[in-house]
């Protein structure tokens, strides 16, 4: 099952698929909340050097199963809350 276990208090769950999972060597983990989505990729880059350019830049993001936009105008955008389920969605290859 790909779903994350429940995050401890003050944390959210993040799911990694395909290339993101290979790069982090994880399927899922818990990160401290709250966190604006605009800071998420920088946060992951601190943990996994190189992931931004190698993986994240071609990925989309879901929060609680809905796609969210990454703000590109310098605004904060959506804030990830405690208990949320975030997923990194690399380019898909079904079929």
């Amino acid at each position: 099952m790909s779903l994350a276990t429940k995050a401890p208090p003050g944390h959210f769950s993040i799911l990694y698929f395909a290339s993101a999972s290979s790069y982090t060597a994880k399927d899922t983990e818990h990160l401290p909340a709250p966190l604006p989505v605009s800071k998420l990729f920088d946060r992951l880059e601190e943990k996994y050097a190189g992931i931004k350019s190698r993986v994240l830049e071609s990925c989309l993001l879901t929060v609680n199963l809905e796609y969210v936009d990454m703000p590109d105008d310098g605004s904060v955008g959506l804030v990830i809350k405690e208990g949320d389920e975030v997923a990194i969605i690399p380019p898909v290859s079904s079929g």
Partner: protein, 207 residues
């Protein structure tokens, strides 16, 4: 046991079991339908001529099921289908076996042909399923991306240096700089190409 999502005469499924074409056809069978079109996608033993030892699919299951059902709903409505069913296999899929089945039924065949193709293309573009091709012989594997020019990423994490892989003529893992927040593939809004819609509407139905 398949994970499923259905609504009316639309069905989406994900399973680790072998796919069964007959049962998918039976899902869309109806006395109101004069045609059933079935598409079966099977796994190839090579990637641009390079032998593939094994294929494996993973998925963000709840998200993928919702995307599949959204596609079914949009295609169903656009082509006034009788029914549509789509199932994708996950885990290791041996070479030559079905990884996806799409069955559509409609009163007349033209709509079914078109709907079947559109449903597949939408699925390949949007559904949150990922294919990993293992080449064997210590060479590792890659995560494939359906989108043209998308990043192909090697599985080995230690191998950080960019491997340009085969050239574009072989359709190999294409590595290119991406823009931050670049759309790898659109959000799932069951959007269909308005041009094809217009084309469809203006096409006379040939009995």
């Amino acid at each position: 046991m398949a994970k499923e999502l259905s609504e009316g005469s639309r069905y989406a499924g994900l399973t680790h079991e072998t796919l069964d074409a007959q049962s998918m056809m039976d899902r869309v069978r109806s006395p109101k339908a004069g045609a059933i079109v079935l598409f079966a996608g099977t796994t190839r033993d090579n990637f641009a001529g390079k032998p593939v030892k094994e294929l494996q699919y993973t998925s963000y299951e709840p998200r993928a099921l919702q995307s599949m059902l959204n596609i079914c709903t949009a295609v169903h409505e656009k082509h006034s289908l009788t029914a549509i069913a789509m199932i994708h296999r996950l885990g290791v899929v041996p070479i030559g076996e079905e990884s996806i089945l799409i069955a559509v039924s409609s009163p007349h065949r033209q709509a079914a042909w078109r709907a079947g193709e559109e449903a597949l293309e939408e699925c390949k573009e949007k559904v949150e399923v990922w294919k990993r091709e293992e080449f064997g012989g210590g060479e590792g594997g890659i995560w494939r991306a359906n989108r043209d020019g998308a990043v192909g990423v090697r599985i080995d994490r230690d191998e950080k240096e960019t491997d340009p892989g085969p050239g574009p003529e072989t359709n190999g893992p294409v590595l290119r700089p991406g823009r931050l927040g670049e759309r790898g593939h659109g959000p799932v809004v069951a959007r269909l190409d308005p041009r094809s819609e217009k084309a469809t509407k203006s096409t006379p139905i040939i009995e």
